[in-house]
Amino acid sequence: MTLLILLYIFFHIGGFWILRASPSQKKEMGLFFGLTTLGAVLWGSIILRHPLDVNKAIGWMLSHWL
C-alpha cells in the first residue's frame, strides 16, 4: 500500500513539474489530477483485497434489467 502511495505522489510531482512548464490552464491540471486519483482509488481497492469490480457490476445490471 505504501508503494502505491509513493508511486502516486511521485507521479504527481513528475506530472506537475512537466505541466507547469507548458502553458496549461486549470482544466488540464484538474483532469490530470482527477484521472490519476481515480486510477489510484482502483489500485487501492485491488490491493486492499475487495476490488470495486466494474465487470461484476455490469454483469449484475445486465442479468437484472434485461
Binding site: 507521479f11 513528475g14 506530472g15 512537466i18 505541466l19
Partner: protein, 377 residues
C-alpha cells in the same frame, strides 16, 4: 513534446522493478528423458527424470569421462507434486522443455494414463509432442543404464524412432502424447512401441559402455502396445504392428521373406498405398494395397527371368493378403478395431460382422546388382 519525456521516465520506472523470470541456462536441470511407473498396490507414482550434465557431454573441456546424464527418481501420489519435489533433490531448476522421450511402465499403461496426459498437456512447457514408449522391463533398470553410440539415452531412443519416422508419408510417427489425445474418443487403437532391456542389471556406470557387446545390456525396440481410450489393452507382435501402421497410419515400408520355388527371397516393399473402399456401406469393406518391390536377397536357384519376377510378385501379394486377413481375424477375436472400421463408417455394434477383403497388387521395380543369382549346377 514535454509529455513524451514523462512517458520515457514512466517506462523506465516500470522496468527497474526487477526480473522475476530470470533462469540462467547453467542453473537449469535439462531433463532429456522422463519415465513414470505406478506401484499398483500403493497407487504411488515413481517418476524418473534423466538430467543432462553439460560439462560431461561437451568434449571440448577435455574433462574426465564423467557421466553424460544423471537419473533422479521420486515417489509421490500425484503428478503435480513432482515439480516441487524435484527442487529438493536437484541442485538446479527443473526444466522439461527439452524432453526427448517419455517411458511408461507396462503396468501403469494397463491401468490407463489419462491422468498423465492431462498433467503433461496442462503446462505448455511440458511438451505434449514428444514420443512415448512402453517398457516391459523394470523401469529403474532402463532409466539407470547408459546407451552406446548416443551418450544421452533420451536422444538414443528418439533416434531409434527416427528410423521409422522417415518412412511415414508425412514423416510423422504417431506415437506422441498428442496422438493419444487425438484418438482419445476414437475406436481405432493407437499402437505405441514397447522397449525391452535385454539384461538383468542396469548398465549404470559410465565405464559400462566401454564394453564392446552392445546388445547384451542394451535396449531393443520391438513389439507394440495397443492403447484404446488411453489405456493399454494388449500387445502386438512386431510384424502385425508394422501392418497396423501400414493400413491405418500411412506407413510406407515393409520387409518380408517369401518362399518362391522352394527358396527364400527377402523383399522390401516401398511406398505402399492403401485405398479403403466400402463395397456395401456398413457391411463389406475392401482394401486395395499397392506396393513397389525391391529384392534384397535372392536365394532362388533359378535364372532371373520376367516370369520369375512375376512369381515373386504373386507370392508377395498372396503373403500380404494372408497376413492382413490374420490381422483382421485377430482384431475381431480380441475386440480391438485394428482396421479402424468403426471410425471409417462402420457402426459400433455390428463392426465385427463387416466382411473385409484385401486385394494386393505389386510391381517389382529394383532387382539389385546381380541379374541372376550364382548357381552351382
Amino acid at each position: 513534446m514535454k509529455a513524451s519525456r514523462l512517458g520515457v521516465v514512466l517506462t523506465l520506472l516500470a522496468l527497474c522493478t526487477g526480473c522475476w523470470d530470470i533462469k540462467d541456462i547453467n542453473t537449469l536441470a535439462i531433463v532429456s528423458l522422463a519415465g513414470v511407473d505406478k506401484d499398483p498396490k500403493s497407487g504411488d507414482f515413481l517418476a524418473y527424470y534423466q538430467v543432462m550434465n553439460p560439462t560431461g557431454l561437451s568434449t571440448r573441456t577435455g574433462s574426465s569421462a564423467k557421466a553424460a546424464v544423471y537419473t533422479f527418481n521420486f515417489k509421490d501420489f500425484s503428478h503435480g507434486r513432482f515439480t516441487e519435489k524435484t527442487g529438493r533433490a536437484m541442485p538446479r531448476l527443473f526444466f522439461t522443455a527439452h524432453l526427448q522421450s517419455y517411458i511408461i511402465s507396462e503396468r501403469y499403461a494397463r491401468e490407463g494414463i489419462l491422468d498423465l496426459i492431462n498433467y503433461v498437456e496442462l503446462n505448455p512447457e511440458r511438451r505434449s509432442n514428444l514420443i512415448i514408449f512402453v517398457s516391459d522391463s523394470p523401469l529403474d533398470v532402463i532409466m539407470n543404464s547408459f546407451t552406446p553410440l548416443d551418450r544421452v539415452p533420451g536422444r538414443f531412443m528418439r533416434s531409434l524412432s527416427n528410423h521409422y519416422q522417415r518412412n511415414f508419408r508425412m514423416n510423422i510417427y504417431p506415437i506422441r502424447f498428442k496422438d493419444l489425445e487425438k484418438d482419445l474418443k476414437r475406436q481405432t487403437p493407437t499402437v505405441i512401441p514397447i522397449i525391452h532391456y535385454n539384461g538383468v542389471k542396469a548398465a549404470s556406470k559410465s565405464d559400462e559402455i566401454e564394453k564392446i557387446n552392445a546388445t547384451q545390456n542394451g535396449l531393443t525396440f520391438a513389439e507394440g502396445a495397443v492403447f484404446i481410450h488411453a489405456r493399454m489393452v494388449g500387445r502386438l507382435d512386431d510384424k502385425s504392428k508394422v501392418l497396423f501402421y501400414i493400413l491405418n497410419k500411412k506407413y510406407r515400408r515393409l520387409t518380408e521373406t517369401i518362399t518362391v520355388n522352394g527358396s527364400y527371397v527377402d523383399v522390401e516393399a516401398q511406398n505402399i498405398q492403401v485405398q479403403r473402399k466400402w463395397i456395401a456401406p456398413g457391411s463389406h469393406l475392401s482394401f486395395d494395397i499397392h506396393a513397389d518391390l525391391r529384392i534384397i536377397n535372392n536365394q532362388q536357384k533359378r535364372k532371373m527371368t520376367l516370369q520369375n519376377l512375376q512369381q515373386i510378385e504373386a507370392s508377395f501379394n498372396k503373403m500380404l493378403e494372408a497376413k492382413a486377413e490374420a490381422l483382421e481375424q485377430m482384431s475381431k477375436d480380441k475386440g480391438w478395431d485394428l482396421l479402424g472400421i468403426q471410425d471409417h463408417g462402420g457402426n459400433e455394434d455390428s463392426w465385427r460382422q463387416t466382411k473385409v477383403t484385401f486385394h494386393v497388387t505389386s510391381t517389382m521395380t529394383t532387382t539389385g546388382n546381380t541379374s541372376t543369382p550364382y548357381l552351382l549346377e
